[in-house]
Symmetry: C3
Subunit: 396 residues, 3 copies
């Protein structure tokens, strides 16, 4: 029996009926079984690919991608995922600096969604705006479908918003599951999501938020650490606490990187911007106050520079369990002495984890494909079984 | 019997032999039955899509799109149409300001057309140039095919030129047909194509020209209205008059928006530039006279501003038949108090017609797909029947 | 028996086992039989296309294209080739001026290669860098595959580097073979690869190098001519000499265009930059010395201008065999009186050869497709035979 068949049989036992025709905004909108379904389908699609089986679910169709920020990696991941399932990608270039308003979004949403099967949106620049844009967009296409404008209802894959980065964090999680030999081995494992110094400013909060919102659901001890003033959204911390309470894990905030790294099994040191500053920046952009934006940038860079000791050095890694914690990063990292003078991580640490880091990234296209598949295919169990028995991807 | 089979049976009765392997420049190049064929195939493709049937006509192949002006909507419509039929799209980015000359066009045409099945060109910026560019391009690929350079002859879909905008106007017309419950209900209906104020300048004339050139063929009373100096191309008005004479409808020009709207069943208020000014602009661009271009822009904006009363207000709409004329726009519209201070239409009017406006737009991808299909498929009747009996678009 | 079957039978006799899963950097890496295989498969794919047969080798899959220089033509050729075989194209936009370093290339290579089947790279700007970039990139994906990051190993098609331009020169060669009625008719034919004046500077050396590195393998008398100071890479000249010695042809350098053209059967007059100047330019770019780059440009333009007599005039063409040598160019050409005041070729010469020039270009997509096919399909003989018996490309 192939791995895909095993995975399909597992999928059959899960309660996943509400995923069909539904959007993927945040991991905490989804039940544990629904997340399990995404991991299961992602693994099955990878198994099919490795065995050179066709994974076409569509004979034709469109995936629309909207990136309100530059993104080579996520763009390629989305394109790969669409291609894997038989969809073509059409990019919509939105101006980066433009915060679109209700009516315009509604019109654009309808105009680009004719014949679209799935919409991938990345909008992480502005706190309080990214998710709102995605919601306005998807409400518009839902209405468009109900009004007979669109002949089918496309579904959303959130490719990063101001709140969550579900395709990244689900890929991170699937990587952890594989590295630790199964989700059952994660109970009691300590994961440190920590801030790290970077000489650039304004990095999104969606990764740390996504991580504490997701990883608290697997019985792990999740620790968040950051310098004073680098808080994440309190709503997401509430979710993390509730998750931990429900799954027998824990969620804790500590004040130093050292404490977070102590005996950690997994570390995720990464820079992000202070939530309050990002809120302020959104207002400055809305007011078109360029002088204010520039001043804020200088202030934030200076604030960052006070915390250069928050770096994933060899010394810091020694504090982790056996000095061998799994090092995670969403890439690209700011590597000390390589991409910058002082950064998030020592070059020797980064280099040692190169292969697992690339593997971590390699799950993202499969996670995206699994999200698309679960939202578009009514009976994914039968679909996987049919693909397993079906033709090859390389016809010759 | 499915709607598609009914439509295929209707298609069978039409004389459409000269569409195969032929280009689509202007609606007035085509016979009534040929236009009927486009509408019929567009409706059939939409029916197949709604029933989740595969509409692949090509196993592989390329649609080349050339936009000599920015265009999100038409770009997406062309991409959707190509995808619907199984073609991939490859964009050629031509510099906007560059008016290419004969030899260069000929070389480019051959170089980008290897393996191309269909070419979509939008070139509406310069009066006297847009159609010429398309013609030069297509003559070159025809020659290239005859000389054995290209192994097949790609066909053209005019995505907007300086003279006509056939994919827009055909979509508008199909929308009207559906709204009025069939082409047989259009006899004697009054449609008002009127200029409207916009605070931007230099909007193409191809929509009003396309509308009077097409809508005069269905027995309707077509009225064109614009302020003095905003004439459209006289050649197209001649076509409108001949059409009207041949179909028992009428074509009339009136001097005020009020008169045009009076008892109208359909209104299409939209800004455009004066023909003479556009001719002048082409010459200024050819001479590279930037100062002249800037001066002309100021002059045209001032000229526009004298006609702010040409706006589709609630008062104006009350003059139409029962105050309930079908409001059309090719989008995006300049909406008073929304996208500009004073514009083409009142926000309350625009909002009331949002659903029909989006529906109007939704026909464009199907019209384009129908144009491609009629030019590439020798026996479209059998093709539609086979698709109706064929496999699903979503394989699972 | 179809032409494709004949070609497949010829292919069967060739020793081509090492092409499967292998990259295509330079023609001189490949055996004569391997080059023969590329020509054979290119001809077969064209025959299949002309007969409207499906040439899909992939049910789904990605071709990644990386252009570190603008390129409409090669971009379209790669896209056409991928589409022909059933692959979608995803472009990676690398900044033109940026010379990426080892680690960054390694990360990018892995990040964009998830699910990729083939990588096409054009990097011809910097002597000493283009090939290095391609090699670093492909070494990274090979490692990525071995480390389990990539679930398959994509192969390279060199779309032009600083050393060779194999897709261009192979297309040129296939054109010559067809024009002369078979490779067996080329023995003793004289081909003149000569420099020609152009008012632009810094044109890559990869075409002349690729030509002398390839065309010396078919028993032809290959002559290279250029003004003093416009030498090509000595390593490639060594290859040309060795090739000639092995195949009974000859390789000779002469000092004037006249001598090169004398009794030539084929002429390829084309501008390129001096090798030494290009080495200097690379260093200036690496040092970020913009003033130095500008000074070098002026110096090179002045140097070029001393050799305006190196032009493919009617007079020059008269010196060729019967005045009727086959004129080649990789396009676009600098045509005297058309695209520039004085350039590489007289307008009347260029115009006379327009059809063969476009035909020459038309082989490139097929050469690229053949390269992809030979590297991805284990049994290309059976594949061609199956395609010959298979379904049509236009399903209806």
């Amino acid at each position: 029996m192939s791995k895909t068949i095993e995975l399909a049989q597992h999928l059959e036992k899960l309660h996943i009926n509400s995923m069909y025709k539904n959007d993927f905004y945040w991991t905490w909108d989804k039940t544990d079984e629904e997340l399990d379904a995404i991991f299961t389908v992602a693994d099955a699609l990878r198994d099919l690919r490795e065995r050179n089986k066709s994974t076409r679910v569509f004979d034709s169709g469109l995936g629309i991608s909207i990136f309100r920020d530059n993104s080579t990696r996520t763009r390629f991941s989305f394109a790969s995922a669409c291609n894997l399932l038989g969809l073509q990608v059409q990019d919509l270039d939105e101006k980066k600096s433009q915060i679109a308003h209700g009516e315009t979004v509604r019109e654009t949403a309808n105009m680009v969604s004719f014949m679209a099967d799935v919409i991938g949106i990345r909008d992480d620049m502005f706190i309080g705006e990214g998710h709102k844009y995605q919601k306005t967009f998807m409400d518009a296409v839902k209405e468009g479908y109900q009004d007979g404008i669109l002949e089918q209802q496309p579904t959303l894959v959130n490719l990063q918003c101001d709140v969550d980065h579900p395709t990244q964090c689900m890929a991170d999680m699937l990587h952890i599951i594989h590295q630790f030999g199964g989700v059952e081995n994660l109970k009691g494992k300590k994961i440190a999501m920590t801030w790290a110094y970077s000489p650039s400013y304004g990095k999104p909060l969606s990764v740390p938020q996504g991580v504490i919102g997701l990883m608290t659901r697997f019985g792990m001890d999740v620790v968040l650490a950051h310098p004073e003033g680098y808080d994440v959204m309190p709503e997401v911390e509430d979710i993390a606490r509730k998750n931990a309470a429900a799954t027998g894990g824990s969620y804790k905030k500590v004040a130093t990187m050292e404490e977070a790294f102590q005996d950690a099994d997994i570390v995720y040191p990464k820079s992000w911007a202070p939530f309050a500053a990002m809120e302020q920046r959104t207002k400055l952009y809305q007011a078109g106050d360029q002088a204010g934006i520039d001043a804020l940038e200088q202030q934030l860079l200076a604030q960052n520079a006070q915390h250069k000791d928050w770096t994933c050095s060899e010394e810091m890694m020694k504090k982790t369990r056996g000095g061998k914690a799994l090092y995670l990063h969403c890439l690209p990292a700011d590597i000390t002495g390589v991409s910058c003078k002082e950064g998030e991580v020592d070059a020797s640490v980064f280099d040692r984890y190169l292969v697992p880091l690339y593997k971590q990234a390699s799950f993202k296209p499969y996670i995206i494909a699994a999200m698309i598949m679960m939202s578009k295919v009514k009976d994914p169990v039968s679909a996987l079984m049919a693909l397993d028995q079906g033709g090859p991807r390389k016809i010759f």
